[in-house]
Amino acid sequence: MKRTFTFPFTLLLAVLSLVTVSLIGCAVYTAPTREETLQIVKSSFQDRGIAKLDRLNQSELQVACSEVALTGKELPKDLRARLEKQALATVKLPADGVYLGDFKQGERIAQTGVGMQWSDTDKTVAGGNCYACHEISPQEIAYGNIGPSLKGYRKLRGDTPAVVSYTWGKLWNSHAYNACSQMPRYGDANILTTAQIKDLMALLLDPNSPVNK
């Protein structure tokens, strides 16, 4: 009984699936490739103010990091090592050997989020917008949590030469220590000046900064 029932049922399924395949056969769907998408994206954007179309031309790092995020796969080990090495090579240490500027200026830079948008101009002094992602000075309660808390930075990490150069490198090009980090390359991408980066360094590492109180 059971067998006789099963047989025509499977047959029916097979026939059905054949019919389905042939019905949509005229429009077999293939997902768009990266290149196809990129072409449509580029035709859908326009220059506005300082934000020009060439910003859509991705670097090798941007392509790799986009792919990793899209597929959810890990960055291959060798590629990660290469990207981090390349990023580290971009880091320019201060020529005068002075790493810390003014922490009060640093606080201002951390609070400001403008720069490089089409609503800005090439005269706009960019900020770091650090509070968007990080807890920093304890008196500022409006902070984000995309990045780790930086409260008590010096107290927790010390100010050994290793910490100082790591912090500088992280601000300059975050991918040097963690390829595909979400943090902008403040030095490498010319978002902040060397002087501004020194001020941010002071915010984190000056013993008198509110961060370390």
């Binding site: 400001t112 989020g113 403008v114 609503s119 917008n129 968007a132 409006a142």
Partner: protein, 155 residues
């Protein structure tokens, strides 16, 4: 004869409409603006405002309650409601201490209307919000602090 008479009637009709719709409302509008208390809206503090409203000073009252957020995500729109349990409440005023001019809004409450009004105001920064009530020609006040936070990314 008949035609010109009809024209005349038509014209008066138009004038009548103009008078009822345009002219009279403009006159009313003008009268209302005259009633607007310029001195009170230009005052810079609670005390100055109360004086401009005709009082010597306002006394603290627990019978006034202010419903407003502790933190306003945006100062451009801060919902504020004031309820007065003081008998014979005639007026309710909403003041923001740190705004360029303190007085934001005033309401006249006739008999039969609840002494409970709700509106939305602007706040330039974190500040005390005062609710001033005039009842039996005396002035009372209650105060609540509203924190105004910064906006987000990019600016």
């Amino acid at each position: 004869m008949t035609q010109s008479r009809r024209e005349f009637v038509k014209l008066t009709g138009v004038f009548a409409v103009m008078a009822s719709a345009g002219l009279i409302s403009t006159k009313e509008a003008f009268a209302q603006q005259q009633a607007w208390n310029k001195a009170a809206f230009e005052a810079k503090s609670l005390d100055e405002t109360v004086k401009a409203l005709g009082g010597p000073a306002a006394t603290q009252s627990a019978d006034i309650s202010i419903t407003a957020p502790d933190i306003a995500e945006n100062g451009a729109v801060v919902p504020v409601a004031v309820t007065s349990k003081i008998p014979n409440t005639q007026n309710v005023y909403i003041l923001v201490e740190k705004n360029p001019n303190s007085l934001a809004a005033g309401f006249a409450i006739p008999a039969g209307t609840d002494a409970n009004v709700s509106t939305r105001i602007k706040m330039g920064q974190t500040s005390n919000v005062h609710a001033v009530v005039k009842a039996d020609n005396k002035f009372y006040v209650a105060t609540k602090e509203v924190k105004v936070t910064l906006g987000g990314c990019g600016g």
